[in-house]
Point group: C3
Amino acid sequence: MFLRNAWYVAAWDREIGRQPLARTILGEPLVFYRKADGTAVALEDRCCHRHLPLSMGRIEGDDLRCGYHGLRFDALGHCVEIPGQAQIPPDARIASYPLVERFNWVWIWMGDPARADPALIPNWWWADHPEWACAKPDMIHVACNYQLINDNVLDVTHLVYVHASSIGNPAINDFPATTERQGNLVRLTRWILDRPAPPMYQAAGKFAGNVDRWQIVEHVPPCFSINFAGCADAGTGAPTGNIVDGIELMALSAPTPETERSTHYFFAFPRKFGLNDPALDKVFNVDFVNVFREDVAVLEAQQRAMERNPFAPSISIKVDAAPMAARRVLQGMIDAERPVRLTEPG
Amino acid sequence: MFLRNAWYVAAWDREIGRQPLARTILGEPLVFYRKADGTAVALEDRCCHRHLPLSMGRIEGDDLRCGYHGLRFDALGHCVEIPGQAQIPPDARIASYPLVERFNWVWIWMGDPARADPALIPNWWWADHPEWACAKPDMIHVACNYQLINDNVLDVTHLVYVHASSIGNPAINDFPATTERQGNLVRLTRWILDRPAPPMYQAAGKFAGNVDRWQIVEHVPPCFSINFAGCADAGTGAPTGNIVDGIELMALSAPTPETERSTHYFFAFPRKFGLNDPALDKVFNVDFVNVFREDVAVLEAQQRAMERNPFAPSISIKVDAAPMAARRVLQGMIDAERPVRLTEPG
Amino acid sequence: MFLRNAWYVAAWDREIGRQPLARTILGEPLVFYRKADGTAVALEDRCCHRHLPLSMGRIEGDDLRCGYHGLRFDALGHCVEIPGQAQIPPDARIASYPLVERFNWVWIWMGDPARADPALIPNWWWADHPEWACAKPDMIHVACNYQLINDNVLDVTHLVYVHASSIGNPAINDFPATTERQGNLVRLTRWILDRPAPPMYQAAGKFAGNVDRWQIVEHVPPCFSINFAGCADAGTGAPTGNIVDGIELMALSAPTPETERSTHYFFAFPRKFGLNDPALDKVFNVDFVNVFREDVAVLEAQQRAMERNPFAPSISIKVDAAPMAARRVLQGMIDAERPVRLTEPG
């Protein structure tokens, strides 16, 4: 069960061009391409005639022509030509989906097109701001349900165990996290004061001594998380907002459901330091992606274990507070989309 | 659901010899071999004792011996020896199937053996006639239901889109096709008059100018199609049967169901020109097979799309007339094989 | 359906060390490791928090720590640490399983721990006795139900067909076998008198003429078979127990169910001759394993055939007497573990 009336990241803008791109989102096969003027288009990837994926066809002008019997569809999904006949039946059409391009991502609205308000797209301005550099690595395909990724991002203690060699260190466990909810937003906050920087931060910031480090995650449904992270010399005032010679970075996470069992995991890493440092670019485009791949190994094993025995009991612990709050918010929104009868007729 | 009382092509004669050949047909595992005198045999590929495929056993004289406990079966499927015991129980037998060899194909009857009349085998005499050369390439395994192949062969407009570089050209769409039904035979006829020859025909025929081209498909259930094709200099009388300096070729198609989801696609290409031309032999044995492989890519994608969403709606268009007529004929024959009660008892 | 209250071979002792070993037994994912003092431990391979396999975690002292959120479990499966919180809820525990090491095998009890009596482990003393050499090759994973392996071991006629080049020869079929049942033990006995030795025995024993050969299989549920085998010069008294210049060997078989469809096949080969002969060591560690691999090909094909058509009829023959007796014994024990109501309430 997915939230339909929501924006999802469908692709990096660089992935969509004048060759059809096939991608399944929320279980629906879609085909993406650009019109002659560059406008991105998303259509159902299934000819309404004999079901061949239209992504096997070819782009002609602003339209897409099926590679089997040649039916031609415009960017709104209407069939505009059937070879061998003049009449086009009214049901010769396929679904089309609203798209908006922002932050180099192509966002898709999977629900009622009339409600596709671009203002509902998360305002992730750091990804496109001159005071920030932003690494925008390729999406990772993950064989797990997207909510396991939401859980993962909203729990920062796993860094100690999954990412010990890069961004985790045991100091994290010494400081409690707080979870807040503001409307649909769930915020997790942890400050790790006067402790050594984890390996990757130390490499980036070359800190002389201990640091004050923050881990703040803001999550909004269905799948958008900002992980504010960074550290500065201990005692210089970071917790009060006064960041001196620190490093400020973020992880923007947008895991888009492919199916109930698989996810297109999009993410980007804005940073406010070393903007023109190619070595740092590599840290974020390569090393941080490898950190995410450590999560992928865990997430896919978790999915397999849950599929193997869906009814195995599980306990919850303190670090689940934020993930569980986010799940409750999302489930409420999904439930609200479904027709509910409160009484029997009669 | 398959038509049982029908001949199907089981194999090329060259595929069956003194080593057991395992092949599934209509969902049933079969084993083929030749007796000492060369007669081909088809048996159930499952020992009646503990189910090991007999194709893992060995041929002894005219019989087949199981590779596990040594039960020996004759060419009619009767167990004739059980090591370690003298008595052979009456139910120690496996199914055997009538075979007929014709046109280098081994035909199998999958229904009531008493009804296995060789006269019911399609008379594809062109495949064995001195005035015709006939390419007989290896069978292609296709991961789709065989009726999608019937549909494909009975629609000649797809040549424009699937085979543009070989036997398709847009001129096809300028001329309507007619569909006729004669008993169980469905015939599709299209004449393309005074147009350029498609690339592969032009290479074969070296035509000086435009041609008159024919596409005539005759289909009989459950899966036998003759595609009469060819062209001659425009205006020289081909539509009246007077073929001068033209090229005449055919595709004989016999897609045998392996399962509901996969097919052994047998085909052959008789031609009435360049009988002793090795370059033309290559055109038909290699290039035309590659044309068929273009279909395979489409057919398998279509099958996957239909399995993924079996209830997606579909529209029908004019070119579906012949395929749909053939499906109706076949369904009627399948229905006729099944017991039907018209009234409730009592 | 498996017999729960029974010992099974879980692993060779050499497989378990200070790195977690994941292995599924009776359908349950388990993790094995050794404590600091070398004691072997078996736990459920699934964290009680979010289901990650604990085999992806790390051993700390005598405990196992989950690789996701760091929950730490002791060797009895009790959670002893949850990072970030002091309180450990009482249901924070996973299953643990009794283990006993014997004959270099690690035996696991999958049922009620209170009934895990080591005296119930088969007394396979030949595997650890100075008058016997014992080859202990690696386990083979077989994609079939373990009872097909029980059947295989309890039928010695298949040697003629499956192992003709090594331990089978047609003489086997000339002599009837007898089947006895003593409590839960099923014994199959066959003496092959005054016949040539099969190839592998001849190579080992260099017999001058014919031999008297025995094949005696003793099987106890759920999956333990001893195959006593060997031969001596014909007429020298072997059938009366007087073995002169003969070769005596055994196959100990312990196929442990992984799932209903797959098995960890453990086995060992004690022999009472050529104890310090490295060439013979190779015969048993390599050549005999290859003999077993011939069985594996048959068993996996049989499993596939049975899955493909579970309702295909089958006949039984004389050689099935022992396998069927063993199946009846086992089924009786499995049934006895299940609650049965003999009357309806009321």
